[in-house]
Amino acid sequence: MTRVLAWLALLLGVLYFLLPLAGMTEFSLKMRRGEYSFDAYRKVFEDPQFWATFSYSLVLAAATILVGVLLVVPTAYWVRLKLPQARPVIEFITLLPLVIPAIVIVFGYIRLYNTSSLLPLTGSALGTDILLTMGYATLALPYMYRAVDTGLRTIDVATLTEAAQSLGAGWFTILARIILPNVLVAVLSGAFLTLAIVIGEFTMAALLNRPAFGPYMQILGANRAYEPPALAVIAFAITWGCMGLIQLVTRFSKHERAKV
């Protein structure tokens, strides 16, 4: 009896999740009257704005991932190694971006770094891109930190560090050759989450007035009928592609299999 109920709950969940998706996909195929076609998709792919904003966001996502990894891996490692008592505090700090709305962060940025400030980052396109990258890194921090910290839990950080030190290694070598490779899968899953956040982010890019994918989706959604669902399906495919990539990476890194 409980088994039947469990299956029923699962079925409801799947329907709840899949029906809108199916509806949206179906709608995106109906641009041509009376028959299914990929016209909406062709329209999207033919739009130079799509490619410009998408590649812009991809580049910024890559920069965000780099900043996140350089910031989070050494921090999470150091906290585990030397300041285990500070972990609750650090965890709280990394959770703050979930509580503070992006709009608050970005207004703070604009106040701090406007053209009449000491560090006028908003004065140039590059400066604004840097600011946006930092903003993205902040938004992604909770996910990146949690992913890396979970990865670090699967290895004996203290012993591996001491073993490497006894073999003559310094901090940089330890981080680059031992810690990072051992949490690579965790870092990658953090990276794909970051990618998903950056591709979909609207508030920061719009307020800083940068040509990112999020604002493009918004503009398209406000002005067209069939292209937005097509775009959503594309975005969905990218996300699922990332998930698949995480699986593949895990599969192919031999030593990771030992942990699962």
């Binding site: 290895i155 004996d156 012993t159 591996l160 001491e162 073993a163 490497a164 030190q165 006894s166 073999l167 003559g168 290694a169 310094g170 070598t173 050759r177 031992i178 490779p181 051992n182 690579l184 031999k254 030593h255 299999r257 030992a258």
Partner: protein, 353 residues
């Protein structure tokens, strides 16, 4: 001056003094064991030598060089841990090569050294394996090869065998000792297992409560323990309480009987209480030639161990353990029977109260 010189080492954690006035000189190529119960400070001493802990006071010299203030990666030491500390993301060969790579040894030379080390530990064919594909014993052998590859000045081993099962433990400890002899590397081995320490060490330092109680060859430590703790911790020991009768003639009273230890054996004064200790193998069941001290005893337990039979017998108010060799024509005594035990005054170890 010894090759590795530890002078007046002290370590305090907060208000907890963990190592007190630890002084030890270790000769080049010597194999030293730090032996003691859990929590006595063995690991702390080793970690100070490794540079993972800074001594509160005292100095550490390796080959004449004061390394007390140096960081671990500047000390040229090799270390082996209790937990399997192989790098999980690297193959066996890469693990062994790690220290050489850090040192900047060129690839050709490095590969040759790795092959040599793998041959030394008998795992030449497993260079491409990952640590998780190997048994605990194999992993610890790789850890040994990895520690030795960069030719460290000192090898430090912190209970490297305690996670292994009994059989592997014995064979690997012998292997470690063989390799250590072959390379002539100065070694400190930490263990709480007295049999392990005695079977492979040149010298043993018995530690208790952060203090080195006695240092000496296994034979000396076992036969001439200087303190009650050492006597009790190393091997099994039977202790009798005795009262000194006539110190100048070496007479004591044990279990209501006067025992003569010979002149000059006793430094206590008449009427004082001393502890008289005997190894199980020094006590004989029944009377025997050359064992002049005879005491009445009741058999309480008999453990047949194969070649040896361990008997527990009550003598006055103490229970003594004694070992006799198994002989087919001599069945062990029945439990509850009364008899005699005998020993020679020469085998008695007198301990301060």
């Amino acid at each position: 001056m010894a090759f590795l010189e530890l002078t007046n080492l002290e370590k305090v954690f907060g208000t907890n003094r963990v190592v007190t006035d630890f002084t030890l000189g270790i000769e080049k190529g010597e194999f030293i064991s730090l032996l003691g119960p859990s929590g006595c400070g063995k690991t702390t001493v080793l970690r100070m030598v490794a540079g993972f802990e800074t001594p509160t006071s005292g100095t550490i010299r390796i080959d004449g060089q004061d390394v007390t203030a140096l960081r671990t990666n500047q000390r040229a030491i090799g270390m082996m841990f209790q937990a399997y500390a192989l790098f999980p993301n690297m193959t066996v060969a890469d693990n062994v090569a790690f220290g050489l790579k850090v040192k900047g040894v060129p690839k050709g030379e490095r590969d040759a050294r790795v092959a040599e080390m793998l041959r030394l530990i008998g795992l030449s064919d497993l260079g491409n394996r990952f640590p998780f594909q190997m048994s605990g014993g194999q992993q610890q052998r790789v850890a040994l090869a990895r520690a030795l590859a960069p030719r460290p000045r000192v090898l430090l081993l912190d209970e490297p065998l305690s996670a292994l099962d009994a059989k592997v433990r014995v064979s690997l400890r012998n292997e470690i000792r063989e390799i250590q002899r072959e390379l002539g590397i100065t070694t400190i081995f930490v263990t709480h297992d007295q049999e392990e320490a005695m079977s492979i060490s040149d010298r043993i330092v018995v530690m208790n409560g952060g203090i080195a109680e006695q240092a000496g060859a296994p034979f000396d430590i076992y036969n001439n323990p200087r303190t009650r703790f050492v006597a009790g911790f190393v091997g099994t020991l039977n202790m009798f309480t005795a009262t000194v009768e006539a110190p100048e003639q070496g007479l004591l009273k044990v279990a209501g009987q006067t025992v003569a230890l010979g002149t000059g054996a006793i430094s206590a004064r008449a009427g004082e209480t001393v502890t008289l200790a005997l190894r199980p193998e020094a006590i004989h069941l029944g009377r025997a030639e050359g064992r002049e001290v005879v005491l009445p005893a009741t058999i309480e337990e008999v453990h047949f161990l194969g070649s040896v039979i361990r008997v527990r017998a009550r003598v006055a108010d103490t229970v003594v353990a004694l070992d006799t060799f198994n002989r087919a024509d001599q069945p062990p005594p029945p439990i509850g029977s009364t008899g005699e035990i005998s020993f020679s005054a020469r085998d008695v170890i007198l301990l301060p109260q």
